[in-house]
Every structure is written in structure tokens, then in C-alpha cells.
């Protein structure tokens, strides 16, 4: 019988997920051995129309990365969903919008205007790109940008979520291994909707730093202090998202002296990632006086950006009111 079919696609993403997959090095050959790769723009030839020609569910496993920035992204998402048995939201962009999701703070018009009015932009007629434009030779078109960036899960039905920016190579190896095993009846696939290739607790679980009772009198900026390399960063006032961020990365950033910025998203069962941090950070503020609390909070110069850095598109609110007004 023929091998199960594999597909991987990138929508609005940076390519880091593909690199992460390539970084499993030799293990990539296992994928090649176990699957027939039918669609992987980065790696091989296959056309949109080839995919369309496939039967529904013909693709066994589809790793989909990237958010829904334009109408094309969504079109492919729907197509691949139709054609795939197992649809995996692969990486932070597909799972929760990731950094490009920060665009949901602003109206799309403002985003385009900003890009085409920078100091080096030579744009006397104040031109903006047009999704359809008539040149002397004829009409040429480009995709239309969505007003707000959406996650894959907000667009199509997703079977599994694999967080991370990008997912750690050892996690990718594990997941690929699991799926192959499951296909050979040697393992059980997790229940639909499960988060795979990650832990169930948070980064602190893997963080080597010492921690004590937490009370914060002042929030600090990592570049403006000599941080203690042994002690919990949050206890030093550095806004580390580790406590709320799903583990699975081996606490790479805190181990390297940098605060966790939250790329693995919320922990198991959490409804809104940012809410967890708002509540946790505020709770350990060491003051009961409104003005003093405000003074301490001034130390967090960008709360929403801090708490929704990777998760804005995936949050309960999804975007700012400004962005909605367009």
C-alpha cells in the first residue's frame, strides 16, 4: 500500500518553523521514509491545483504554520483542512498569532500608511499598494490584507496545536515519532484539540533559577540592571512571562539570562494567557496604596504588549478596538 501523505505549509510566518523542522537533521529522513511528502512549498514541487485535485482527507498529516494575514492564507487553510485527516496548527503563528499578531493593536490602514511613509520612503504621490492595479500592459493583482490577523483555529477546525516560536526541534522529533508510531498502531494519538509537543505546566518548572516568596516593589528593565544569574528574574523585577507560559522549551531564555517572552503560549486549560499574567503580576505587587501601586506599575511600560506579545490574536479580545474600527 502507498505511504501516508504529508503536507507542510506556511501562511503569514517567518520561515523559522521550516528551519526548525530542517534542524531535526537526520531525523528528517524518518519523515521521508514514513510519509510521501505531497505538499511542502519550501522543499518540493507541488501546486495548489495538485492539492485541489486530491480527495478529501487524502493528506494524513498537515503541519500548518503561519497566521491568517491575507485572503490567500485563509483560502489555503480551508483547502488543506478539507484535504487533511490530521490538521496541526504548527508554531506560535498558527496557534495564537505570534509577533505578527501584534498588528491587531492597530487598524490595517494605519499599518500600511506607516510602512509607506517612513523617512526613507520616496512617495511623492503618496501611493499605497492596490490589490488590483491597472498597468498600461494590463491588470495585475496581489492579495488583500485582512483587517485583523486571525489564528488558524479561528479560521478552520484544528486537530492539534503545537506551540513554540519556533517549536523546539526535540519536540518536533517527538511528535513526528509519535504520529509514525500511531500510524503503525504502536501508539495512541492524543484526543482532538490537544496541545502536542509541549509540557503541561509552565516554564518555571524547567527553570534552573532559585525562587522565593515573591513580592515586587519595583519592575526593572533587563538592560538597566546587573541581574543575579541564579535568582528568579521576576523576583528581581524583570517582567518574565515564564510563570504563565507553557513549558516544553527547557526554559531556554531564562537559562540564558533573558526573560521568557512567552512564545509557547498559555498553559493547559488556560482561557486567556494575558489575564493570567495580569493577575499574577498584580498579586505580588507589594503595596496597598493606589498611588504607590500606580507608581510600581509605571515600571511596566507596555503591559498589553508584554502580556499578549505572542497571544494577542489568540486572546479573548483578539484585537484592540482601534483595529476593529479599521
Amino acid at each position: 500500500m502507498s505511504k501516508p501523505k504529508f503536507a507542510m505549509y506556511w501562511a503569514a510566518s517567518c520561515g523559522g518553523c521550516e528551519i526548525a523542522v530542517l534542524n531535526i537533521h537526520e531525523k528528517i529522513l524518518d519523515v521521508d521514509a514514513a510519509f510521501e511528502v505531497v505538499f511542502w512549498p519550501v522543499a518540493m514541487d507541488a501546486k495548489y491545483k495538485d492539492v485541489e485535485a486530491m480527495a478529501d482527507g487524502e493528506i494524513t498529516l498537515c503541519l500548518f504554520n503561519g497566521g491568517m494575514r491575507n485572503d490567500e492564507n485563509e483560502h489555503i487553510a480551508h483547502l488543506l483542512r478539507k484535504k487533511s485527516k490530521i490538521m496541526v496548527a504548527f508554531g506560535s503563528c498558527a496557534c495564537e498569532g505570534c509577533i505578527p499578531g501584534l498588528a491587531n493593536f492597530s487598524p490595517i490602514k494605519e499599518i500600511i500608511d506607516t510602512a509607506f511613509t517612513t523617512i526613507t520612503t520616496d512617495n511623492p504621490e503618496n501611493i499605497r499598494p492596490q490589490s488590483s492595479f491597472t498597468m498600461p500592459e494590463g491588470i495585475i493583482t496581489i492579495p488583500t490584507l485582512n483587517p485583523v490577523l486571525k489564528t488558524l483555529g479561528q479560521t478552520v477546525d484544528v486537530d492539534y496545536f503545537m506551540p513554540g516560536c519556533p517549536p523546539e526541534s526535540h519536540q518536533i522529533e517527538a511528535v513526528v515519532g509519535l504520529v509514525i508510531a500511531a500510524l503503525n498502531g504502536k501508539a495512541e494519538l492524543p484526543p482532538k484539540g490537544a496541545t502536542i509537543g509541549a509540557g503541561t505546566t509552565t516554564v518555571c518548572d524547567d527553570c534552573p533559577r532559585k525562587r522565593n516568596l515573591k513580592t515586587i516593589k519595583e519592575f526593572g528593565r533587563i538592560q538597566l540592571m546587573k541581574a543575579d544569574p541564579e535568582l528568579c528574574l521576576l523576583e528581581q523585577g524583570i517582567p518574565c512571562n515564564g510563570p504563565a507560559t507553557r513549558n516544553g522549551c527547557n526554559a531556554r531564555c531564562p537559562s540564558a539570562g533573558a526573560q521568557c517572552i512567552g512564545c509557547y503560549g498559555p498553559a493547559e486549560g488556560v482561557v486567556d494567557y494575558g489575564a493570567r499574567l495580569i493577575s499574577a503580576f498584580a498579586s505580588v505587587i507589594d503595596s496597598n496604596k493606589p498611588d504607590e501601586i500606580d507608581k510600581i506599575l509605571d515600571g511596566l511600560v507596555d503591559p498589553a504588549g508584554q502580556f499578549y506579545r505572542f497571544n494577542l490574536a489568540g486572546s479573548l479580545l483578539r484585537s484592540s478596538k482601534y483595529a476593529q474600527k479599521g
Partner: protein, 155 residues
């Protein structure tokens, strides 16, 4: 939506603590004090239980405003948990502002079990303030905005 004729009727979700503000609401009731019907109360054990998720959920779900209420500072049934609620409120407010939600749509109210009158008055005041702000109509990409329950119910 409300027609031109009718004024905009905001929907407000109010969180109360079991010991002070909910009892204040009870007292307003037993004293037959009248206030605007726009608020729907949820009873928590303590304002410290107020998870910002609840607030986001309410706004995203179509509420035009949210009230958080608890015991006066120093009077918390659980010693000092209302201070934690206060700290969270301060931070939450900053986030909401960045999300484009007017600060006037989130209110923190301290009310003792004895302050039914104050509770009622504050709800009326808040309702008018929100009415002035107009509907929030939180839009979800790819979703119908779910708005006040009026037509839901009368339908």
C-alpha cells in the same frame, strides 16, 4: 440594536463579593431602593476571586461595561484580598486602555454590607456614564457581534 426612539440600554456585568457588596445589593433590595435594570450581578466569594479573564470574557461577549465591587479596604472578610483585587484592577485598566476600551467601562466600587443606598446610587451613576459612552459592540473576527439581550429576549 436599539432603535432611534429608544435610548441605548447598556448591558453591565457586575461582580460582587459574598460578604459586603452582594449584601449591599441585598440591602438595596430589602429597602426597595430603585436602580437601573442594566446591571446583572455575579456573586463571588471575594473580590480577590475576580480573574481578569472574567472581565475580558464579559467585554468580548457583548457587555458594555463591567463593575467590580468588594469590601472597603481594611474590611475584607478575607483580611486583605480586596487589596489584591485593587492591584489587579489597576493593571487590568492599563491593559484595557491599550486595547482601546475606555477606562470608564470598568469600575471598581467598595461597598460595605450597610451601603445599599450607595450601591444603588453608584449603579445608576455608572449606567448613565456607560450610556454616554455608547455601545462597545466588541467585534470578533468572523463572528456576529453579540449585543444586548434585549432583542434576544423579546424575539
Amino acid at each position: 440594536m436599539t432603535e432611534e426612539s429608544k435610548p441605548f440600554e447598556p448591558v453591565i456585568i457586575g461582580f460582587t463579593c459574598n460578604w459586603c457588596s452582594y449584601r449591599a445589593a441585598d440591602m438595596a433590595g430589602t429597602a426597595r431602593m430603585k436602580y437601573a435594570p442594566n446591571i446583572r450581578l455575579i456573586r463571588l466569594m471575594c473580590s480577590g476571586r475576580l480573574d481578569p479573564t472574567f472581565v475580558f470574557k464579559a467585554f468580548a461577549g457583548g457587555a458594555d461595561a463591567v463593575l467590580i465591587s468588594g469590601c472597603h479596604p481594611g474590611d475584607c472578610h478575607y483580611v486583605e484580598q480586596n487589596y489584591k483585587a485593587m492591584r489587579r484592577f489597576h493593571l487590568l485598566k492599563r491593559v484595557l486602555v491599550q486595547m482601546g476600551i475606555e477606562p470608564g467601562r470598568l469600575k471598581l466600587l467598595w461597598a460595605s454590607a450597610a451601603e445599599g443606598a450607595i450601591f444603588a446610587a453608584e449603579i445608576n451613576k455608572f449606567t448613565e456614564e456607560v450610556r454616554a459612552l455608547g455601545p462597545l459592540n466588541w467585534a470578533q473576527p468572523g463572528e456576529q457581534v453579540s449585543t444586548p439581550i434585549m432583542e434576544e429576549v423579546t424575539a
